[in-house]
Amino acid sequence: MIIDMHIHPVFYESICQDEKELEFRKNTFGVFKQSPYDFDEVFREMDYAGVDRAAMLPLDLTTTEGGFVVTNEQVQSIVEAHPQRFIGFASVDPRREDALEVLEDAFGRLQLKGLKLNPAKQHFFPDEDFMKPIYEKCIAHNKPILFHAGLSWEPNAVTEYAHPLKFERIAMQYPQLRICLAHFAWPFVREMVMLMIKYPNVYTDTSVLYLDSPEESIRRLFTVDMGPLWMDRALYRQVMFGSNGPRFRQFKLLRALEKIPMREYAREGIYYKNALRFLGEEDV
C-alpha cells in the first residue's frame, strides 16, 4: 500500500466551476500554466504510481488574503464522492475570530481527518500563545496537524515563520499531538532530523524537489543531507511519503525513492505505516 500524505487538489475539476475562484487559487498558491483535470486523469496517475490513497490539503487565508485555496467543504465533497481514494484535511486561518468553531465543524459535521496549517502563508509563529486553543482542539479530537515547513514557493509567504526550530515548543508542550513538518522542512533538513530524534510525535514527508531531478534530489536527501542509514536506524517511524502534487509528480518521487537502499521496514514506514499512525487510523 502507498499513501500520499501531501496533495493540493487545486485543479480537481469538480471544484473548479468558478473561474474567478480558480484564478484566485492559482495566483495565491503560485501555480500556473495548468488547467482543471477530471478524476479519471487523477486516478490514472495515482494508479500508475501505485498510490492507493491521497491526503488533500486545503488552505484558509481569510485574514491574510481574503479567500481560500480550496475550502473544507470542497475537500469534503471530493472525499464523499471518492471515499476509497482520498483523505480529507481541514484548514483554518488561526487569526479568524471563529477559528475554533470552524475546526469543530470540520472535525464534526465534515468528518475531516486532520488539520493543515501554513505558518509562512498564514503569517504566524507556531509557538505563539494564541495558537494553543487550536492545538488543544486537535488533541481533544485526536486529529494530527500537517504544517508547511521550510521553503514556501507561494507568493507572500515568509520562510521565517516556518523554520523547524519554531515548532520545538509545540512538540515539547504537546507530546500527545502528532505534527508533521512537511517537505523535510527543506532546506533545514538537519534541524528537521534533530526534532524527529528528540520528539517521536514529530513527522515529516518526502515532498522535496526544488532542485535537480527526482533521482538526484531524493538521493541527496537520503544519503548526503542525511546519513545513508539514518532511516533504518532512527527515523523509520516518522517519515511519510508525500508528493506535493501538482507541484511535483507522485510517480517520479516514488521512482526515485525506489532507488534508495533501505530496509523493508523503513520503506513500509515511509509508504504507508507512518501515515496510518499519524492519522490515528492504526497503531502500526
Partner: protein, 142 residues
Amino acid sequence: MVDLQEIYWSSEKPEQFHMITRQVHEIVEKSPIKQGIVLVVTAHTTTGIIVNEGLPCVETDIGETLTRLVPLEADYAHAHFLPSYGATGNNSTGHIKSLLCGNHCVFPVVDGKVVCGSAQDIYIVELDGPQTRKVYVEVMGE
C-alpha cells in the same frame, strides 16, 4: 478550404505509443475537402507524432532507441523549480524525445481519402504521461 478537427487521448504511462490511423482516415473521409493534404499536429511539447509500421516490436525498438539516445538520468539543465509554472520541470527526456519524433506528419488527400503506404500507421507518442493529450487534424484543399 480548411477543416480542423481534434483527437483526444488519455495516456496511462509515462511513455506510450497510441495509434490514431483510423481516426485520421475517418476525419478525412467525413471532411467536405476531397483534394488536398491532411496535417496531423500534436498540441504538446512532450509528445511526438510519428509514422511507422504498426507492430509492437517496432514500437519497442523505437522506444528503446529513444531511451538509449536520451537516458532518464543525465545532467539536464531543465531539472529545477520553474517560477513560471510554480512546479518542477523534470521532463527533459520528454522534450528531447519529442524533438526527435517531431510534432506532425502530412499526407496527400485524393478523392476524399488519405493516400499512404499500406504499412504507414500514424501514432501519437506519449513522452511525459500519464496525461490527457490533444492532436489537431487539419484537412486543407478543395
